[in-house]
């Protein structure tokens, strides 16, 4: 069991300067939450490139209606692992593990997480997950979609499928351990001067996310263990020929995986609530509404999973109940969206790269959310389920939402994390390319789906080729858009202009220490003297 206290004994009696962490410390079992945060962020970003590269191969294949670039089975392996990597090795570890670990202790005025060793363990468990996914390609790769519905998953590529299951179980364990760490850190380790309602909204978001992860992830683990037994140990939980029920798997899977989509967006909502007020120079509008709507989304989010199964073996009452519950999620989400817009209203908006990504997110998430609402109604979903309309929906919320949010966060906290400023013009080029690329890739997919193109196909009806070519071009624009960011990040990390402790003039606690923070964050713990979003309260002062 991890020891709860991190004290002088563990890292030397004084508070040494970060210079003490050498590069190779980042490859060790380091218990410093900031090191762990960076480990998560960098490894997640690496997997983003891997998953993105897979997407590019898929898009290249889809440029023509026939299956000519890769073998159709390999195409399935690509799409399965693209989805899996993007969710379990990029967004979840990046947003929760990366930003959560780096920022939560800094934001609440703690020296570390509640269980530092457990925290390091949680990170290192994701490493075998990544290796298993990559390794599964030597066995053909799992080929039954990231949803892995049996019986297909029981009869295709057994070894790779088993590796896939173990990878998800590892990633899930990591996420449970991380979640419990966050809950206790936020609950118990805030500086005494910080009440629940003085907490930065990012911490609220991580709290809500963690509760959700804690309660839904084990159910997925249960489902996957059963699947693993069916594949390898001769059981028949999901083998219909022996009385198993394939739809039960779908219930177990979606009971987790619907909440998982909120795991991927709530931390991003938290980032939004931090970035927007700082760069609009206004207090966040409706603090409590934003904080509690995260919890509302979590609770409702636990009761909507069947909307992924409207065309499956689902009785009528279930289809109707879950239609209504799904629609209701739009209300708390709308509250957040409107509050951010109201935060912009009357502000003095600085168009930094972070702010551009935040506003871009706002614009695109609304679109993705509205298409989500159309999917939430059973009569329409029956037509568009398992088509590119769904693919369009979830890339709008996941790419236009989560990925944009991570970028906003990276631009916003890069100075804090590295002590260097990023180059703003390059950031703007990055934003513009990404924004164009995203819409070019995913907007036309709505029409594809409505007109009749199913998802997860390597060969399709030639009448859809024109639209598919647009999507493919968009995807390559997205591929290109990575370059300015990579160049910017790598170059600025060592050569960028030095950042002060608080380059954005922000008010949350992480900005009260050096950039990058010293090893135990502060020599002297800070005391909160005003709210985290107390902008514009002093009478306007005119500076030169």
């Amino acid at each position: 069991m991890a020891q709860a206290n991190i004290t002088g004994e563990m890292i030397g009696n004084s508070f040494p300067h970060p210079d003490k962490w050498k590069w190779y410390h980042y490859f060790t079992f380091n218990v410093d939450h900031k090191v762990i945060g960076i480990q998560y962020l960098v490894s997640a970003f690496f997997f983003y490139l891997v998953g993105g590269a897979m997407a590019l191969v898929m898009r290249a294949e889809l440029a023509t209606p026939s299956s000519d670039l890769v073998d159709p089975n390999f195409y399935n392996a690509l799409l399965t692992n693209h989805g899996t990597i993007m969710i379990f090795l990029w967004i979840v570890p990046g947003a929760i593990g990366g930003f959560g670990n780096y920022l939560v202790p800094l934001m609440i005025g703690a020296r570390d997480m509640a269980f530092p060793k457990l925290n390091a363990l949680a990170f290192w468990i994701t490493v075998p997950a990544g290796l298993l996914i990559v390794g599964s390609f030597f066995f053909g790769g799992a080929q039954s979609g990231w949803t892995s519905y049996p019986p297909l998953s029981l009869i295709t590529a057994n070894t790779a499928q088993s590796m896939w299951i173990l990878a998800i179980v590892c990633a899930g364990t990591s996420s449970i351990l991380g979640a419990l760490n966050f809950i206790i850190t936020i609950w118990k380790m805030r500086v005494p001067s910080m009440g629940w309602n003085d907490m930065p909204l990012f911490c609220w978001a991580i709290l809500a996310t963690s509760l959700l992860a804690l309660f839904s992830t084990p159910v997925l683990a249960a489902g996957l263990v059963l699947l693993l037994f069916d594949i390898n140990f001769g059981t028949s939980f999901f083998r219909p020929e022996n009385g198993g029920d394939v739809v039960m798997y779908q219930h177990l899977f979606w009971f987790y995986s619907h909440p998982a989509v909120y795991l991927m967006i709530l931390p991003i909502f938290g980032i939004m609530s931090e970035v927007i007020p700082v760069h609009a120079r206004k207090p966040i509008f409706g603090y409590k509404a934003i904080a509690y709507s995260s919890l509302t989304i979590c609770i409702i989010g636990l009761f909507v999973w069947v909307h992924h199964m409207f065309t499956s073996g689902t009785p009528p009452w279930m289809r109707m109940f879950f239609t209504v519950s799904t629609l209701i999620v739009a209300v708390p989400t709308g509250v957040k969206i409107f509050s951010w817009v109201a935060t912009l209203w009357g502000g003095k908006i600085r168009y930094t790269s972070a702010m551009l990504f935040a506003i871009g997110l706002l614009a695109m998430f609304v679109f993705g959310g509205l298409s989500g609402v159309t999917l939430g109604t059973a009569p329409v979903d029956i037509h568009v389920h398992d088509t590119y309309y769904v693919v369009a929906h979830f890339h709008y919320v996941l790419f236009g939402g989560s990925v944009f949010g991570i970028y906003a966060g990276l631009y916003h906290w890069f100075p804090k994390i590295t002590g260097r400023m990023l180059n703003e013009p390059l950031g703007k080029v990055h934003f513009i390319l990404t924004f164009i690329g995203t819409n070019l890739t995913f907007l036309p997919m709505h029409e594809l789906g409505l007109k009749g193109m199913p998802r997860r196909v390597a060969m399709y009806d030639p009448q859809f080729q024109y639209i598919n070519i647009i999507c493919t071009i968009g995807a390559f624009v997205l591929g290109l858009s990575i370059l300015p960011f990579l160049i910017n990040a790598i170059w600025s990390w060592s050569n960028g202009p030095k950042a002060s402790g608080n380059p954005w003039n922000a008010k949350t606690l992480e900005w009260t220490t050096d950039s990058p923070p010293i090893i135990e964050n502060w020599d002297v713990l800070p005391v909160m003297t005003e709210g985290p979003y107390a902008y514009g309260e002093e009478p306007a002062e005119v500076s030169s």
Partner: protein, 326 residues
């Protein structure tokens, strides 16, 4: 700007947004042709949602763009914005409005779902196969009546059943549909016809009893706006009325293996007399045993071959296809 009072602006914007949204909702051609009674219901509902969605989209995005322009930091201004951190009536307003909208949409979807027949799958379950029968693909023959009833108890039928006005009535035509990697097999229980394509008469109330032999498939006809998974070990059904003669694609919508994308066939909607001709012809063929093979494995085909069915639907010449797949 100063001269025009705010309410007038709001009114004008409101009218414009409403008009644009209505126009988008009812003039888009994003959906394919309507070829079933159900498709009309679904499309109306979808278009209503497009209207609402467009309106919300325009209002939210419009406000964002307005803020971006109006509230941008001017040169040399390093001050903060207004210190407003909330407004209860406003917040209550934007919680209440979406709540009203989604409740309305919820009620509306229940209505549409009922009209489509969503509440009546498995209406006459006693007349057909049971799970036991299906799992072994053997006829009910050697089960006793009690055993059949017992099996039925544990088994319900999923899908879309009889529409409201036909509830409790038998369908005009029943077809058994079996999905397998990677083909659909259609069996007409009354005439014994087996085919790889679905033939139905126009304006008839058709009931498909859907089953799967290996993995999950999904029977989808975009022009009918209807889709139902074929699930091994479960009985599902889809009941529809085709309203327009023609040929429409049948698409497998659930990932079922490498050639999932090639698991396609057609539904041919005939006029009643054409349909009878077809029935007679096929019955005769069945008797002389000249029925063509129905199941083909796309893995054995060349690119041009498995693209051929698409070509027909899309009006592409076969030499073009050959060219395409070079």
């Amino acid at each position: 700007m100063k001269q025009i009072p705010a309410p007038l602006w709001t009114l004008t914007i409101g009218v414009i947004v409403t008009l644009v949204s209505l126009w988008v909702g009812f003039n888009n051609d994003w959906l394919p042709e309507q070829a079933s009674a159900q498709s009309v219901l679904v499309d109306n509902f979808f278009n209503v949602m497009v209207v609402i969605g467009t309106a919300l989209f325009l209002v939210v995005e419009g406000t964002i763009v307005y803020c971006m322009v109006q509230f941008r930091r001017r040169k040399g201004d390093d001050t903060d914005g207004l210190a407003i951190d909330g407004n209860l009536p406003l917040e209550a307003f934007w919680t209440a409005i979406p709540a009203v909208i989604v409740i309305g949409l919820g009620i509306y979807s229940v209505q549409i779902f009922q009209d489509m027949g969503g509440f009546a799958p498995g209406d006459q379950v006693h007349e057909h196969g049971t799970r036991l029968a299906q799992a072994s693909t053997a006829p009910l023959g050697d089960l006793t009546a009690a055993e059949v009833d017992e099996a039925l108890l544990a088994q319900s039928v999923y899908g879309i059943g009889a529409p409201l006005d036909k509830e409790g009535q038998a369908a005009d035509l029943e077809v058994n549909v079996a999905g397998m990697q990677y083909a659909w097999i259609f069996t007409y229980p009354n005439s014994g016809i087996v085919d790889g394509e679905l033939h139905v008469p126009v304006n008839a109330d058709v009931k498909l009893n859907i089953s799967a032999n290996d993995v999950i498939h999904s029977f989808w006809v975009p022009q009918f706006r209807l889709k139902q998974d074929a699930i091994p070990g479960k009985e599902t059904e889809l009941r529809f009325v085709a309203t327009k003669p023609g040929t429409y694609p049948v698409v497998c919508a659930e990932l079922c293996g490498g050639y999932h994308g090639a698991m396609r066939t057609q539904v041919i909607v005939h006029s009643p007399s054409e349909f009878n001709n077809w029935l007679e012809q096929r019955t005769a063929q069945a008797e002389t045993g000249t029925a063509e093979t129905v199941a083909i494995n796309p893995a054995d085909l060349t690119d041009a071959d498995y693209l051929a069915p698409y070509g027909k639907a899309a009006g592409v010449e076969s030499h073009l296809l050959a060219h395409l797949s070079d």
